[in-house]
């Protein structure tokens, strides 16, 4: 059987890598990549080779995506286009539209399509929020006490709601929802990787959150498996183990600057306005209470474990950025 795969969000790192891996798969006849902006140039901006991926520039918020799906007889949709931080020029409102309206348009198009057999949606473990009243380790079925109410995490909760509704309306389609921990690796550029490359790491006084990362290579492998095999359901994806924020700072050889949480929030606001880093209220909560998830459901379903633990993924990121702890490289 030939496959035609649609990948959204190919102009960003993970989306591009997924598209190129799928394009290299001989069982897949066509890979169509869509995004609102063209992919970065290979030579100038260090973009990823998309292989034989055909790029179509589509604004996901418009119904044009339905035409792409209908015209190309798409059977697998990999929805990677979830923006985690508002861009400096357009702001939060556009980000929310992009995430939520974009997903609604895409799912609407899939629902009408007669060819789509499989939908894979990227979500985030941020949907569990971060709270002192929730269990230390989240499994997929757990309802958090204090779900996220702001920003990216709130978008992801809404996106998941639409995905579940879609799965109910089209039970014949295999829907896989992947809740990824923060991506970590040489090519990842996210609010959290930018945070760790700062010269001084502001932290919340009196708290040392547990953090979890997933290496980009593992994330790509999970997405590849999900796009080529049937694994319906919701899965947490994270590297084994946790790192404490203090441990991350020490491994990066960066001093941390404990601030009382109101000061932390104020500094975050200033930094955000200056366009330096992005701190949303969700991130302040993550920096206080941390979050860890259980990945045994994914490991059983795929019969596979992520190659990188949380610690190994973080170390790989540090190596690529030339960061090392005080007194030299760790062994």
């Amino acid at each position: 059987m030939t496959h035609t795969v649609l990948v959204t969000g190919v102009s960003r790192h993970i989306g591009a890598r997924v598209a190129s891996v799928l394009a290299a798969d001989p069982d897949i006849s066509r890979v169509i990549g869509v995004d609102t902006v063209p992919p970065p140039s290979l030579t100038r901006d260090g973009g990823i080779s998309l292989g034989r991926t055909e790029f179509v520039r589509v604004d996901l918020r418009s119904p044009d995506i339905a035409q792409v799906i209908a015209a190309a007889d798409i059977d697998t949709v990999v929805h990677m286009s979830l923006v985690s931080a508002p861009s400096r020029s357009t702001g939060r409102a556009v980000m929310k539209e992009h995430n939520v309206i974009g997903t609604m348009q895409l799912l609407g198009a899939c629902q009408r399509s007669a060819t789509v057999r499989r939908v894979v949606v990227r979500s985030t473990t941020a949907v569990y929020g971060s709270s002192p009243r929730d269990p230390a380790v989240f499994t997929e079925d757990l309802e958090p006490h204090d779900g996220p109410v702001h920003g990216y995490a709130k978008d992801a909760v809404e996106v998941e709601g639409y995905v579940r509704g879609f799965a109910r309306r089209r039970p014949d389609i295999t829907v896989s929802l992947l809740r990824f921990a923060n991506f970590m690796g040489p090519g990842v550029d996210s609010p959290i990787t930018r945070y760790f490359t700062q010269p001084v790491l502001p932290t919340v006084f009196g708290f040392d959150p547990r953090l979890q990362f997933v290496h980009e290579d593992d994330a790509i492998e999970v997405l590849r498996r999900m796009a080529t095999e049937d694994h319906p359901g919701t899965y947490n994806v994270a590297g084994a183990g946790v790192l404490l924020l203090s441990q991350c700072a020490r491994r990066a050889g960066r001093p941390s600057l404990p601030l009382f949480s109101p000061a932390f929030r104020a500094l975050g606001d200033v930094a955000r306005r200056a366009g330096l880093v992005d701190y949303s209220p969700e991130q302040v909560r993550l920096m206080s209470h941390g979050r860890a998830v259980d990945c045994s459901r994914l490991e059983i379903e795929l019969g596979w474990k992520p190659k990188f633990t949380t610690g190994a993924a973080y170390d790989d990121f540090l190596r690529s950025r030339g960061l090392h702890p005080l007194g030299g490289v760790r062994h």
Binding site: R133, A136, V137, G241, L244, A249, P325, R330
Partner: protein, 302 residues
């Protein structure tokens, strides 16, 4: 008298140790430096709950060991009842205005039974700065069904104080009277995991901060469950925070088995209430006997 064939020679005492040489353990200084290097470079492991076993043993417990040995002169009874391995649920009485009993129980189990105690704490602990991460680093977590089940499944020694704030914050006049044991969620967790319940009585914690009054309005303002008045606090200010040196005893009772029940029985409220009552009676009984056995709280003075 026999004469040795060869000439007598001097054997230096240091070269002939009377005991077999211990395995080549590195010098204390080298070990301390290696420890410091690991801490500074972040090269250590914490488990998914944030438990930092090395930091707990080498630093945090080390700080409270003098209190354990010299201040409270803690004496343990029937440590052999603590299972050497596998999951078990420690159920203890809670007292002392500040949860010092939790720390002492942790030292007792760590040093005398070789087990790490994983306590389930109130959510207030995890909202407060410092306390929240210290609690996680020393192996404790939030009292909730998911975390309890997870720890027990991993074969950990989980500890609960079913009386909660009612127990630790009770007035001095009610010392050694067990308070209500809540809904028995801990029993349900033990049944689900099929692990034994280990009843524990702590005698001595009641006298460290005799609570003779309360400041409920101020406590509410500060978001605390109670704000105690003791004979020395707030009268003597920070000096009033020094615990009185009462004599402590900790007894580990015989494990109460739960593996004869079906895990589904955890949803049967009658069964759970019955076992909860039974555990409560056992702990109260142990408390009464141990208190008699200890005698005066401040032996040199009374």
């Amino acid at each position: 008298m026999s004469v040795p064939d060869e000439e007598g020679r001097v054997i230096p005492i240091s070269a002939a140790p009377s005991f077999p040489a211990a395995d080549p353990e590195p010098e204390p200084l080298a070990r301390a430096l290696a420890f410091l290097r690991r801490r500074i470079t972040g090269d250590y492991e914490v488990d998914e709950f944030g438990y930092d076993a090395e930091l707990t043993d080498k630093v945090l417990l080390e700080l409270i060991r003098p209190l354990y040995h010299h201040w409270f002169r803690v004496e343990t009874v029937e440590v052999k009842n603590v299972p050497e391995e596998g999951g078990a649920l420690v159920v203890a009485n809670h007292s002392g205005t500040l949860p010092v009993d939790a720390l002492m129980m942790q030292v007792a189990l760590h040093d005398e039974a070789g087990r790490a105690l994983r306590l389930l704490g109130a959510d207030l602990v995890y909202q407060l700065p410092l306390l929240s991460h210290l609690s996680r680093k020393t192996g404790h977590t939030l009292a909730c069904r998911e975390d309890a089940d997870r720890l027990l499944r991993r074969g950990e020694l989980v500890g609960v104080f079913p009386e909660g704030f009612k127990g630790v914050g009770k007035p001095f006049s009610e010392r050694y009277k067990l308070q209500r044991f809540g809904r028995g969620g801990f029993v349900a967790s033990a049944i689900r995991a099929g692990v034994p319940i280990l009843p524990v009585a702590v005698v001595g914690a009641e006298e460290i901060y005799p609570k003779i009054g309360d400041l409920p309005t101020l406590a509410r303002l500060l978001g605390l469950p109670y704000l105690p008045i003791t004979p020395f606090f707030p009268l003597l200010g920070p000096l009033g925070l020094v615990p009185l040196p009462s004599k402590w005893m900790i007894e580990f009772g015989e494990p109460i088995r739960t593996d004869e029940y079906d895990p589904a029985d955890a949803d049967d409220p009658m069964l759970v209430f019955n076992i909860t009552d039974h555990v409560r009676e056992v702990v109260q009984q142990m408390l009464n006997e141990l208190r008699l056995r200890r005698g005066h709280a401040f032996p040199p003075f009374l």
